[in-house]
Symmetry: D2
Subunit: 454 residues, 4 copies
């Protein structure tokens, strides 16, 4: 097929090359944004009298028809037409004759594709932010429902100190809050109009970029035409922010996979969100969580792709940049799918309060409280820590829990230990005592929830 840019060429494009260079198989998903961008562009061209108002109206009508055809599934995208831009422009010319060719006045595919991706990503980031916010609400609601449940807090996957399950769940609320902030910051940098930069230098035609920006609701217009068509920072930044989000989702997945194991038994996953084994009939596998964890690798890979692609590219546009789309689209799809399935699944998880609480009883989880008790009696912390360490060792050697010790035994380690120690090393008192700001006491967790909901 003769290309729209074919004037200068003596040979036609090789079939292999068409297949190798086409992007329509993946960039067709931009069609809605391509049409929206073209519509604004043409409106401006008409207003500026670069084309006549009637021509503008005709073209916009044509674009609307194409939109309808695509929506109804009637439109046939052709690989020979390379990309979404050429497919739509060709259809327009077919429909309107030469006047259709006026659509590409004062622009280039270089600024057009930059516009399309920005429009697309602007929508997608907004959707992702909505999903993260929903997931945050899920965590708040789970925290409220499980406000009193005590579980072991872990460091190094070793039981460390008793904490409230609600406090633990709210840790994810905080992480996701930073994700929202990062996505919003990124959105600000996406939200800049590149159109009107043309190939790289701007145009001699009297366009009005700020009017187009207004039509397309861009608060800002790019300042340098060369930069505008060379820039994919926003793609990299979005995938980087998504990678950090996936850190959080993978940590959650890992924890819930552990908690769902026979060994922890802290939670039961809903049947409808697990799958079975093809050979072991008893299995109920946490596939959703495993896949979420695995998909982290996918997003990291996408990040590495875009960073590698952009490295060392001379200005301005290079065809390498066509490779930006698949990692971007895949990241968008992955992030939204993971958020979506977690939003549905988490509210159905059953937390086994008793199992969790039993787990806090074993393992010297309040040893730190003994140390802090001694500190309150004036023992330097480092010595208090050392005394407590010896108490623990004694317990292990004698196969006792901390709470099994009697006062005399304890006093052997320090005279300062009084009867009230048994109060302080109870799990409940330990948790309730953590009243430092951001601490795990019921009081402070409720403060936080109230602040969140206000």
């Amino acid at each position: 097929m003769k290309k729209l840019w074919g004037g200068r060429f003596s040979a036609q494009t090789e079939k292999t090359v068409e297949g190798f260079t086409e992007s329509i198989s993946f960039d067709s998903r931009l069609w809605k944004y391509d049409i929206a961008g073209s519509t604004a562009h043409v409106t401006m061209l008409g207003r500026q009298k670069i084309i006549s108002k009637q021509e503008a109206a005709l073209i916009i009508k044509g674009l609307n028809e194409i939109r309808a055809e695509i929506e109804s599934g009637k439109f046939k995208f052709s690989q020979a037409l390379e990309d979404v831009h050429m497919n739509i422009e060709s259809a327009l010319i077919k429909k309107l004759g030469p006047v259709g060719g006026k659509i590409h006045t004062a622009r280039s595919r270089n600024d057009q594709v930059a516009l399309d991706i920005r429009l697309y990503l602007r929508d997608q980031i907004s959707e992702a932010i909505q999903l993260i916010k929903k997931l945050r609400k899920v965590f708040v609601s789970l925290a409220e429902k499980n406000i009193d449940t005590i579980m072991p807090g872990y460091t190094h996957l070793q039981r460390a100190q008793p904490v409230l399950l609600s406090h633990h769940l709210l840790a994810y609320f905080e992480m996701l809050g930073r994700d929202v902030a990062r996505f919003e910051d990124c959105l600000g940098r996406v939200n800049v109009l590149p159109l009107g930069s043309a190939a790289l230098a701007g145009t001699t035609l009297p366009i009005d970029r700020h009017y187009v920006a207004k039509l397309l609701k861009f608060p800002a217009v790019s300042e340098n035409s060369i930069d505008a068509v060379s820039d994919r920072d926003f793609v990299a930044e979005f995938i980087a922010s998504s990678s950090i989000l996936m850190i959080h989702l993978s940590r959650l997945s890992e924890e819930f996979i552990l908690w769902n194991s026979e060994e922890f038994k802290f939670i039961d996953l809903p049947d409808a969100f697990t799958t079975g084994s093809s050979i072991m009939p008893q299995k109920k596998n946490p596939d959703v969580l495993e896949l979420t964890r695995g998909k982290t690798g996918r997003v990291y890979g996408n990040l590495m792709s875009i960073l590698t692609i952009m490295k060392s590219l001379p200005l301005a546009y290079n065809r390498d940049m066509q490779e930006d789309k698949e990692p971007l689209f895949d990241t968008v799809d992955t992030v939204k799918a993971c958020l979506g399935v977690l939003i549905e699944m988490l509210p159905l998880v059953r937390f086994n309060r008793k199992v969790m609480e039993k787990a806090t009883a074993a393992g010297f989880l309040t040893a730190t409280d003994l140390a802090e008790y001694l500190v309150k009696k004036g023992v330097p912390f480092r010595d208090a820590h050392s005394i407590t360490g010896r108490v623990v060792k004694y317990c292990i050697d004698n196969n006792k829990k901390l709470t099994d010790m009697d006062l005399d035994e304890l006093k052997q380690f320090s005279d300062l230990i009084g009867k009230d120690i048994f109060h302080y090393i109870s799990v409940e008192v330990s948790v309730d005592g953590k009243k430092s700001y951001g601490g795990t006491s019921r009081e402070k967790v409720l403060v936080r929830i109230r602040k969140i909901k206000s």
Copy 2:
């Protein structure tokens, strides 16, 4: 839809979960290997009397029918059936009734999918090796055709010394040779039968794994059932080897993009392998090379994905591992596409001999020959280097080429310089003199070509 593994479940799988966990949208490409593996497995089951010979025959007949249906495009893969394995088994059971359910005797999806990927990758690596070998031949043929063309050899993108274009092209031949070796080494590790490891522990049924290996032409059988279902080393190794191949293709692309620029003009790319601009009618863009260079990022990303996915996974199979397929498939497709298009394009590249040769004249490319000349006269290399440096500086200050200098001028720098120096600093003599093994002299390049072709 009720799942084949659904016996133990009280609730049905959520629609969202089906969409999130399905793999049929990408693993359907394994169907051929799934059927081949099942056929061998069932043949063995019959031979071992684990199922009757008639049952085996029935199942194989059913599989053949399914193969025909898939080939003719009649087979409908269903997302509710999750993956290629369940789609095919379900079709079989629909066709044969309960006896179809005997196909999954003594195996699990865990060893089945490991088998399928290995069968698939074995084929793909072999194809990739064939393509690399073809591309190597292209380089030999280009080297032969351009055996005498002299060009500047570069370091730091600075003209360094004159070399033969043929020698430069053969550098790629050597790189690709290492790629073949790496792919072959990888192939050896792919070529191991995992089937018969079942879920992770092996089976109590009297299977004969070596017979299956023979049927499927595997030279080796995996030694440990837990390892066999947990292992995706071969995926990572293949993508790593592909990443190194892409280093080579990206370097070639970069060089040819440079050489195709107005500034270098060392080559003309064939029209049919370039594309035009949507706005600048004069452009003839090296898109194929740019995309190849860009696709390097894609393969690196895939590598990072699989490495991330596999990190820290406890044994044996985890669902995260389902995420191995898309990076693998994408790498296979990318590598084959890049090799394929280069094999077609490179023979059509026109090398502008005159431009290359003219470029060797400027720039003091034989300065090293002057230094080596002095070494032959007994000057320590470091001093010879220093003298030559001063000669070059003099030339630059006086706006002269090395060959513009007369003997008296040269003698000011060293008495040892004689009339014969003008012989040695000619570009042709410089090239021809590099007779060290692996050097750029015509003689040595021909030796290499002869050895390659023998």
Copy 3:
């Protein structure tokens, strides 16, 4: 050596393990921040009467002495003491006796190290931002000095349209502006006090975290103790932002390496910023630029490290997180070194105006202007593009430049072409005509510079 945490242990740490687990060899660089954090912490402990005012004063005096010892190089960091925290605390206890052990009251290494890294990174980001701003100024100053120089703008490394060198240089100004914004956004998320989260649950001692925040100039206090000790988002975000910065520096490096080549000759690099060859005396290598380009890989690698490390880690602190420091430190050092050397070098680069301008003459760079000329006469752009393509092909076939054509020849392609075409396709008029906002005309570039400087 007996460890400060050794109370519970029956065996001493293996030498190999000490070597394997120590971090003092790299985290000693945090000493200044560790002392600053401890000083604020102890001040608060005294104010809250958790320790006595005198004790607080004693400890702060001790810390000041240690600071002086480290500054004067007298302090000996010991590997057996693991990390910077334990080295300083041990020194304090040695100095003060048991009271020194009060320093660690109501905190853990988990929140302490989080504090130290945040204090360190806060400083480093601020420094990096200053450096980027300096580099931006360099670009503005270069743009002003070269305001009128015309050069070829490139796409696909093909000469595309004439642009102003100043406009091209300002593209980097814009990129770096986004880097500043990203670093500032990141700084906001770094600037949160984690101290007081203790091991993971907070503390039962009556600390005042907001007072510590005030002392250390943190505008915010972390909201959740578990999150506070588990979070390394800010490390990942900083390295991700640095990776995007390195995209820009690598693109600049690539361009300047090209421009410095014999083939382009657009610039001369200052002798003092290039290096020579050990064998080829004529070489003047752009090492600084090559290394900057290469160091991009280093930063990308650091990003991949931290992302991999954090993936799937269960809450709260895990020792894996100790591996956050080296990629962070290396990124800080690399980014600052690259910025620093470019700030010094760029002002000394000589731009070869004549060579650049000559390069715009060849290559049909104003073909787009011919097309836009036709558009202004009413020809639909797509047809105008096609006509121009044919003109270019005619020129190539007849070995002519666009400006070599006479009017009659041109009219064969379109009747609408008039005599004034020769005005429009001159390089200067082409550049000056690009008056669209953000375009390359002198007028618009000056507008931008004025805005920047205002």
Copy 4:
């Protein structure tokens, strides 16, 4: 300081640039290889009469003195001398006068550094292989010591089927076997002499590269001088192979961290290989394992660095390639340290046989055996699977283990179930019955161990 290559330069190198471009701070570790390479080179130069035998002897004597000085710590490496090569050559010239400058005859730093890295890496890979082999032996010895211990085999971190601990441990033996093979394959590609390729083109001096190869024990000589100085495949391949090794070590670490948790309690780690908490006296943290897991990120990052650095570099040497060393050195150090500490630690791990065995009792781990039992009675596997699934569901609903069921209850699900079922669903019989090749039965595991040790 005046540079050895300074002849052509009018300005001296900037201090900042010296600091930015130097490599002596990390490449000094190559000194031994640099001297070994130079010694062989000079021996050859003497033999070929390119320099006199006396000169060769003098230089070698000088090199030996320098070696002794470095070994005794007397040698001062200088940053102004850039790299290890220039430091040693300068010292030689200082010692011998101009004749020292003959050492660099017929070579360039480009081939010299390629030689040094290959010599270094050859040694390091050999050492790494020895360490992996030692670690493999540790696994065999642990397997032998724990030959009869039964534990739950896991998939999806769900208990799946009972397996032998020894079988599980031997899975790591198999993984590490592939690592050895990959390292050996890589070693073959490292073991090629690049020296004599000079800057990129070879030399006009009559060198004998095969003689140098013999002296340095290289089985092969590089075939193309341009490729020889451009190639860092072997660095990338080594780091890629190390990344795959780190997958294995991270999986092991993850498992042992889990097994060491209070919840699993499958193992006790030796005190001397764990560390304590600064605040929680009861903790005994698996730091060695956590750090090994974390260091995986470090190696992945190094891989990403070298791949990024090499992407798109035009031939031949570019200074970017100096950035190959730090990721390489860091990978070597990391891999060796991780292997070393595991070799010491693993033999001291205590496996809690009783806990493991108890864990196989719960959880329907022999459900697959019930299914296979039915298969042996003629039930199609898929139906057998379904029946078993229903049995399991019944057990769960009635809070029973499989072994709690009586025959009548079981018969409700299938008439084919006979009394012998209680034999088959015992954990021991289940394990012993997995007699398929590579299966977990004691018989097969012993077969494997015998084969390994033969």
